[in-house]
C-alpha cells in the first residue's frame, strides 16, 4: 500500500469517527439542553425529543451533506472545473421553483410538520430539481459538450430563478416560506427523510464509484479518455444522473445549502492526492461531517434560538473559497 493510499484510509477513518462523535454530540444539543439526554431514561418527552427530533435531524444533516459532497466531487470531475458545484445544472433553482409552485398552489407552510404537506413540498422540490436538470440536458442537446452543458445549466438557473421570483411576487404570503427554503434548514428532517436520503445516497455512491475510472480518464482530457476506449457518452449520462439524484435528494429535504458540495472535494484533495474512486467516498464522508458540524454550530451558537444552517455554511464556505483563491493566485494558478 502506498503512502497516499494509507493517508486516504486514515482520512476516511478519521472522517467517519468524527462523524460518529458529532452524532452523539448532536443528540445533546437543542433548545432543551443536554438535560434531555440525562432525563431520557425516565422522561418520555425528553426521550422523544432526543430520539425523534435531535437524532434524525443530526443524522439527516450528515446524510444531506454526504449527498452534496458526493455530488460536488462528481460535478468537479465531470466538468473538470475545481469551482463546479452540485447546483451547476440548474437543480437549485428548479427545486426552489418547485417549492414556490407547491406553496402558491396549496398555500402550505414549510414549517408544518404534517407529513402529507412535508411530502408534497419535498416531492415538489425533488421533482423541480430533476426536471431542471432534464431541461438543461435538453438545451445542451445531451451530455456530449461539457461547455454547452455548463452554459445551459446557467441559463436554466437564471430563467427558473426568475420564474420563482415572479410566483413569489404574485403571492407575497409565501415569501417567508420561500426564504426559509432558500436559506436551507435541517430542522425538519425526520427518520423517513433519513431513510430516503440514505437509500438514494447509497445508490448514488455505488454508481459514482463504479464510474470513477471515467472521471480519472477525463482528468487527462476528453480526447485521451476516448482514446482509452471509455464509452464517454453513456458514462457521462450516468454521472449526470448521479449528480441530479444526489443533489435533488439533498435539496428536497434540507433546502439550498451552499458550499458544502463545493468545499468537500477541495478539503479532501488538500489532504490526500488520490484517484476518483477514493475521492468520491472521502468527499461523501467530508460533506456529511461538514454539514453535521455546521448544523451543530447553527443550533448551539445562539441557543435556544438557531441560525439557518445554510447561512452558516455560506459564511464558512465562502471564507474558505476566498482563502483557496488567494492561495491559488499566490501560487500563480487561476
Amino acid at each position: 500500500m502506498s503512502s497516499q493510499q494509507r493517508r486516504a484510509l486514515v482520512l476516511g477513518i478519521v472522517l467517519l469517527a468524527l462523524g460518529a462523535a458529532l452524532l452523539v454530540l448532536g443528540a445533546g444539543i437543542g433548545s432543551t439542553g443536554f438535560e434531555s439526554v440525562l432525563d431520557a431514561r425516565h422522561d418520555p418527552v425528553a426521550l422523544q425529543i432526543v430520539r425523534d427530533i435531535r437524532l434524525p435531524r443530526t443524522l439527516g444533516a450528515w446524510l444531506a451533506g454526504a449527498l452534496l459532497g458526493l455530488a460536488g466531487a462528481v460535478a468537479q470531475g465531470l466538468f473538470r472545473n475545481p469551482l463546479a458545484d452540485p447546483y451547476l445544472l440548474g437543480s437549485a433553482s428548479g427545486a426552489s421553483l418547485g417549492v414556490a409552485i407547491a406553496l402558491a398552489m396549496f398555500g402550505v407552510s414549510p414549517t408544518s410538520t404534517e407529513w402529507v404537506v412535508r411530502l408534497g413540498l419535498t416531492g415538489a422540490a425533488f421533482l423541480g430539481a430533476v426536471l431542471a436538470v432534464l431541461l438543461t440536458l435538453l438545451l445542451a442537446r445531451g451530455v456530449q459538450q461539457t461547455l454547452r452543458l455548463l452554459l445551459a445549466g446557467v441559463i436554466v438557473g437564471v430563467v427558473l430563478g426568475a420564474a420563482k421570483d415572479l410566483i413569489t411576487i404574485a403571492s407575497a404570503d409565501i415569501l417567508q416560506a420561500i426564504v426559509g427554503f432558500m436559506l436551507g434548514s435541517t430542522g425538519l428532517v425526520g427518520w423517513s427523510a433519513c431513510a430516503v436520503m440514505g437509500a438514494l445516497g447509497a445508490a448514488c455512491l455505488l454508481l459514482g464509484w463504479m464510474l470513477a475510472p471515467l472521471l480519472d480518464g477525463l482528468a487527462l482530457g476528453e480526447a485521451t479518455a476516448a482514446s482509452l476506449g471509455l464509452p464517454l457518452g453513456a458514462m457521462r449520462a450516468a454521472l449526470v444522473v448521479v449528480l441530479a439524484l444526489a443533489t435533488g435528494a439533498a435539496v428536497a429535504q434540507t433546502g439550498l445549502i451552499a458550499f458544502v458540495g463545493l468545499a468537500s472535494p477541495h478539503l479532501v484533495r488538500s489532504a490526500v492526492k488520490t484517484t476518483h474512486a477514493r475521492l468520491l467516498v472521502l468527499s461523501t464522508a467530508m460533506g456529511g461531517l461538514l454539514l453535521m458540524a455546521a448544523d451543530l454550530l447553527a443550533r448551539w451558537l445562539i441557543a435556544p434560538q438557531e441560525l439557518p444552517v445554510g447561512v452558516l455554511t455560506a459564511v464558512l464556505g465562502g471564507s474558505y473559497l476566498l482563502w483557496l483563491m488567494h492561495r491559488r493566485s499566490a501560487r500563480g494558478g487561476f
Partner: protein, 257 residues
C-alpha cells in the same frame, strides 16, 4: 511490399465549419517510425486525431485489415495508443499521482473496477522507467514541471503497450537529453515491431525517423523515406525554402536560413 499498420482513404475532417483535412490518402508502414511534419495549421494534429478514431470524419481509416470504426472502443484502445499535445480543452489531472496517471494507460486491459494485475504493474513500471519518471511516482502531477509532466504523459501512452503509437508533439517542453531519450524509446518500440507515428516540429528529430509525411494546407504533399532527396526537397519547399537540409555527423540536419 511492406505491411500497412494504418491507412487513411479519402479522409476528410472539419473543425467547426471549416474543412481542415481534404480527402487524404495515406498508408503508414507497420514496424516503422513515421514522422509527420509541416507548418502550423497544416492539419497534422487533426490528421493524427482522425487516425486515432477520436474525430468525426468522412472517408475511412483502416487498422491492419479492418475498418477502425468497426472495432469496439476497448479493443481499439488496446491496439492503438494516442498521446495528445495537451492544450486548451484537455485536462490537467493536477491532483492525480504520477503512478495513477500512468496506470490509466492500463484501463483498456483491465476488467472494469478490477484491481491492477501484476502485468499492469509491471507495464506501468517499465513505462515510467523508460521515460525516467519512476522516481516521481508518488508525486501529484500538479507539482511537476512542464517537461517532467510530458514524460509522465508519455509513460501513460507507453503503458498501453499498443502495437501502434500515435504521438502529437511528444517532445513539447523536453530538454535535449530527454529528446534524445525519447528518440531511443521510439527506436526501441520500432525494434519490438511496433509502429510509431509522431507529429513533430523538431525537424532534426523528425529526420531521424524511418519515413516522413510532409503536410500543408490539410493535404499530404509528400511521403517518403527520410534519406530520400525528394523528401528533403519537399520539406524545404513546404517551409518556403527557409530551411536547408545538410548531413552533419551522420545525421540529417535542417538549418534555418
Amino acid at each position: 511490399m511492406q505491411a500497412t499498420a494504418l491507412e487513411a482513404r479519402q479522409l476528410s475532417a472539419t473543425l467547426g465549419s471549416v474543412e481542415v483535412l481534404h480527402a487524404i490518402d495515406l498508408a503508414l508502414a507497420a514496424g516503422r517510425w513515421t514522422s509527420i511534419v509541416g507548418p502550423n495549421g497544416a492539419g497534422k494534429s487533426t490528421l493524427l486525431k482522425a487516425l486515432a478514431g477520436l474525430l468525426a470524419h468522412r472517408g475511412e481509416v483502416r487498422l491492419g485489415d479492418q475498418p477502425l470504426s468497426a472495432l469496439p472502443g476497448r479493443a481499439r484502445a488496446r491496439r492503438l495508443s494516442w498521446l495528445g499535445q495537451g492544450g486548451p480543452g484537455e485536462g490537467s489531472a493536477d491532483d492525480l499521482m504520477v503512478y495513477d496517471v500512468a496506470m490509466l494507460g492500463r484501463l483498456p486491459h483491465q476488467r472494469w473496477l478490477a484491481a491492477p494485475s501484476e502485468a499492469d504493474r509491471a507495464a506501468v513500471e517499465r513505462a515510467l522507467r523508460s521515460t525516467q519518471a519512476w522516481e516521481w511516482r508518488t508525486r501529484p502531477l500538479g507539482q511537476l514541471s512542464g517537461g517532467e509532466r510530458q514524460r509522465v504523459l508519455l509513460a501513460r501512452a507507453l503503458a498501453v503497450e499498443a502495437e501502434l503509437l500515435l504521438m502529437d508533439e511528444p517532445l513539447a517542453n523536453l530538454d535535449p537529453p530527454h529528446q534524445a531519450d525519447w528518440m531511443a524509446v521510439a527506436r526501441a518500440l520500432v525494434g519490438e515491431g511496433r509502429t510509431v507515428v509522431s507529429v513533430l516540429h523538431e525537424l532534426n528529430v523528425a529526420l531521424a525517423a524511418d519515413a516522413m509525411v510532409v503536410m500543408a494546407g490539410g493535404r499530404v504533399l509528400h511521403q517518403g523515406g527520410c534519406h530520400d532527396p525528394a523528401t528533403h526537397q519537399a520539406l524545404e519547399s513546404v517551409f518556403d525554402g527557409r530551411i536547408v537540409i545538410h548531413r552533419v555527423a551522420g545525421q540529417w540536419i535542417a538549418i534555418p536560413h
